[in-house]
């Protein structure tokens, strides 16, 4: 029995975007006969593309391959695909924790890039055996030896055995599989020991309830086994086990070292938290798998239906989304300007965009989203601590004794050429430098502490832009720090619009107020009434812009032959305004509510 897991290899593929990760995954599946060449195109990849297009790369993918190696033995290779965005850094770390090795794909024409580095360091943190692969050697500009040297110099990996590959042409595939078998250590762990399995993804399936994707480290999962989820001590009975090969198929057990899915009558996806440990109820392990975190939303925004009649539909959609995404939260919110809606919490801005896009596309809702806010911590004059994720809920200034904001430790990998621009960006975002380390002659790792609110505010896009795409960002929450913060209110025709309020640093408030007023002047269309836009701190107006009313909007002639055409024109204009929210007599387009976020520095 102890031998059974000697034939298992668990690995993932890490790569910079566009370096050929999916094509390589396809070739591996094809070569091992897991899918036919046609299926690889038609099924597996498409499936992934669709998921990616629909924005749910937050979901890890796994596939089991059977491979007879040159040594004549049969191996089970589990390929664990990981999501690829900083918003999902924790999920990535849990997927990597389920592996013993990683195939590192480097483009033979592009060499080592920022994301490659970040991914490699993460893999090394998990003590994974790394198998470098130099891909796209079929291209005329491929420089295999140059890239080999770069892997050694920049990353510091031994690249003598790096496999020259062309995933496109199918070159080098067998050698990669051989190296996985030879170099990636088999999982250790006693199939007879007390059960210890880590959940690295979970989702809701309307037929089976919550499905948990797990890696077993110790013991064996079998149908009928009484299991316990470590973090909440809840008890469930295993009902079914399965693997993806590449389509789901049932198995009778998952032993130490194996990867597969568990169905155990779990109804609520929040019970099956990523990173949690599953153990046996009667014979629990003493210690769970390390590194478990309850993932908490970092960014909050209001989500409101443009048409108040869609409120119930929005709530139903949020409930459904939540079934599959335990990192996402929502609770009812009421805004004076926007009416009834929900305050939603997300891991980050990408997560926020994914959720909003799904709500609009999959559920056909037309929504207004307010500018995202981080969670501020207020200690009031009574000594009580409040967490504020909605600027509208901020207590009056005179009741605030201590105003704190969340701060991140940001690790930025970039090219030495871009150091100046990156440092300037971090400084501009109220960052405090903690470390600056050169790696080789071309690379630099910069560590900064930056308030989360500043990172939320298009920092990632800016970083990409100042580094021409080369810099990567990785961050963790450092904690809360006191800061001189104020609430900036926006008034439209003298009425404060609660949904447009933002919390900003006092030094930035004036500039921000001016920028927001200007931006709103651009995005709010001319209307038949004059529109006054003001920014204010407390009762003090710090900036004002005016949108003049139309002077003329009338059709000169309207006789028998004109009526239909002109009515349709006005109906079309009215239809176009369905995406606007009327505040007082002013029609405000959806994008205005995000304008407070999107002003230029």
């Amino acid at each position: 029995m102890a031998d059974s897991n000697q034939n298992i290899r668990n690995f993932s593929i890490v790569a910079h975007i566009d370096h050929g990760k999916s094509t390589l995954a396809d070739r591996l599946l094809e070569f091992t006969g897991t899918v036919s060449a046609r299926e690889a195109q038609a099924q597996f990849l498409d499936n992934m593309e669709l998921e990616r297009e629909r924005g749910i790369t937050i979901k890890a993918q796994t596939v089991r391959m059977n491979y007879r190696a040159r040594d004549g033995k049969d191996y089970v290779l589990n390929l664990i695909d990981t999501p690829g965005h900083v918003d999902f850094a924790y999920e990535v770390s849990r997927s990597l924790a389920a592996c013993e090795g990683a195939v590192l794909v480097v483009d033979a024409t592009q060499g080592v890039e920022a994301q490659t580095l970040a991914n490699v360091y993460q893999a090394l943190d998990h003590d994974l055996e790394i198998i470098p692969v130099i891909n796209k050697i079929d291209l005329p500009s491929a420089d295999v030896e140059g890239v080999r040297r770069e892997i050694e110099e920049v990353i510091g990996l031994d690249a003598v055995d790096a496999v020259p590959t062309s995933a496109k042409e199918g070159i080098g595939i067998e050698e990669i599989l051989e190296q996985v078998v030879r170099k990636v250590p088999p999982p250790s762990g006693d199939p007879e020991g007390p059960l210890k399995a880590i959940i690295f993804d979970s989702w809701y399936d309307s037929y089976r309830g919550v499905v948990m994707l797990v890696r077993v480290f110790e013991g064996t999962l079998r149908p009928g086994l009484e299991i316990m989820l470590f973090h909440n001590r809840k008890q469930f009975e295993v009902q079914g086990l399965g693997v993806f090969a590449p389509f789901s198929q049932p198995v009778q057990q998952l032993v130490a070292g194996e990867v597969g899915v568990v169905v155990a009558n779990v109804k609520d996806v929040t019970d099956a938290k990523v990173g949690d440990t599953i153990t046996e109820f009667r014979r629990p392990v003493a210690e769970p798998f390390p590194g478990f975190k309850v993932v908490k939303p970092m960014v909050f925004s209001g989500v409101f239906p443009v048409d108040a009649a869609d409120y119930d539909q929005l709530r139903d959609a949020l409930v459904k989304l939540r079934l599959n995404d335990s990192a996402f939260t929502f609770e009812p919110e009421t805004s004076q300007a926007l009416g009834f809606g929900f305050r939603c919490g997300y891991l980050g801005l990408l997560h926020m965009e994914i959720v909003q896009e799904r709500l609009e596309r999959e559920y056909g809702l037309t929504l207004i989203t307010t500018a995202p806010s981080v969670v501020y911590r207020i200690t009031d004059t009574q000594g009580e601590t409040l967490e504020i994720d909605n600027p509208a809920r901020l207590p009056p200034v005179q009741r605030i004794a201590l105003f704190e904001e969340p701060v991140l430790t940001c690790h930025i990998h970039g090219r030495t050429d871009d150091v100046g621009a990156i440092l300037k960006l971090c400084q501009d975002r109220r960052g405090v430098q903690r470390d600056l380390k050169y790696i080789g002659t071309k690379r630099v790792q910069i560590t900064y502490e930056i308030p989360l609110a500043e990172v939320v505010f298009d920092f990632f896009d800016k970083l990409k832009s100042v580094s021409r795409g080369y810099a990567s960002l990785d961050y963790e929450l450092k904690g809360y720090q006191e800061a001189d913060l104020v609430r900036l209110d926006i008034l439209i025709n003298g009425e404060p619009v609660d949904a447009l309020s933002v919390i900003v640093h006092r030094e930035r408030a004036y500039q921000r107020g001016r920028d927001v007023c200007q931006k709103l002047r651009e995005v709010i269309p001319k209307q038949m009434y004059e529109v006054a836009i003001q920014a204010a701190i407390g009762s003090k107006v710090i900036s004002r812009e005016t949108i003049r009313a139309y002077r003329k909007n009338v059709l000169a002639k309207c006789y028998g032959g004109d009526i239909s055409r002109k009515r349709k024109l006005l109906e079309k204009q009215k239809e176009g305004k369905k995406r606007m929210k009327q505040v007082g007599q002013v029609e405000i387009p959806q994008e205005a509510f995000l304008a407070v976020l999107k002003v230029e520095d």
């Binding site: 038949m528 909007n553 009338v554 002639k557 006789y559 032959g561 004109d562 002109k566 006005l570 239809e575």
Partner: protein, 383 residues
Amino acid sequence: MPPRPFGLYVHFPWCSFRCPYCDFAVTTSRPMPGERYADAVIAEIRLRAHAFRGRTCATLFLGGGTPSLWEPAAIARVVEEARALGLPGGAEVTLEANPESCDADRARAWRDAGVNRVSIGVQSFDGAVLRKLGRRHGPGDAERAVREVASVVGNVSVDLMYGGRRSSVETARADAERLVSLPVTHVSSYALTLDAEVLAEEVPFARLARSGKLAFPGDDEVVSQGRAIAAVLEGAGLRRYEISNFARPGLESRHNLLYWRSDDYLGAGAGAVGCVRTEEGGGRWTNHRSVGPWLAALDAGELPTASEERLGPSELANERIMLSLRTAEGLDVAWLGPDRHGEVAALVRAGLGEIRAGRLRLTLEGMDLHSAVAERLFGSGGG
């Protein structure tokens, strides 16, 4: 309640040339088969008449194109046909005319054919403005035409156009002042419109304006011109009874009022539009715009309809809002859903509208924003 009357509109598409701002169904082809066209118009009226059974034709409007180019005998036959639909002896019969085809002899022939109101396309009395509008008559021709026709027919309406190139508040005011010194009972004062989405078809001026090859006055200037004209006309006792129309009391266009009051109309001729409403809703038809297909259909004994539109309750309601707000009579506030009452109050607060006897009427400022106001009052379920 007696059945609502309806209007008869007959379109005559021929013009001697095409004006570069005109989006009507117009042709300049020759020969101009006036008698054959009249035969076909009469055939169409007969085909369409039974949708109006039991109702009385109240007005006749001969529009175009340039129907003053039509042989008076043909016009007489069309008027006869309207009489067969019940058009009373004293009812309004309007003929559109351009100044070049107006003289006392012709006016007598029209009068004898049954025409009792002539609408003359003067546009301006300023030579430069007229040339820039692409018109071929001069200020003197226009004045002569008005005087000669008025001496015979009496009831003369004039079209003015402002906002063209070379126009200014001064030329606009001068046009209006010269106009009120003439024997006119009615004025239509139109801003030159080149907005692509408003026009039925693309016109040369719109293309030139869009490409930046021709510059036209901006909105502020156009509004000032329109107001200057309105002030002169109203000062002379011509009451503004619709956004672009002014009349001596009692001499408003009965035919056009029928459109703005959401009454029905039988349209005949190439490019004509007609509309019939019943209890359940209604329909509007548009004829083939070109004479060829229009004639071919009638030759085959078929209706020359190019397209039809069903009008449901929301379309009818929106039209009623849009049309009635164009008039001094205004909109009965009871027609609006309760959810629009806040909008009405805001209009009144902003001085764009006023309420009298339960009707919302647009003020001078409100009329310049009619489209925006109407759209905000449309039901949200419309479209």
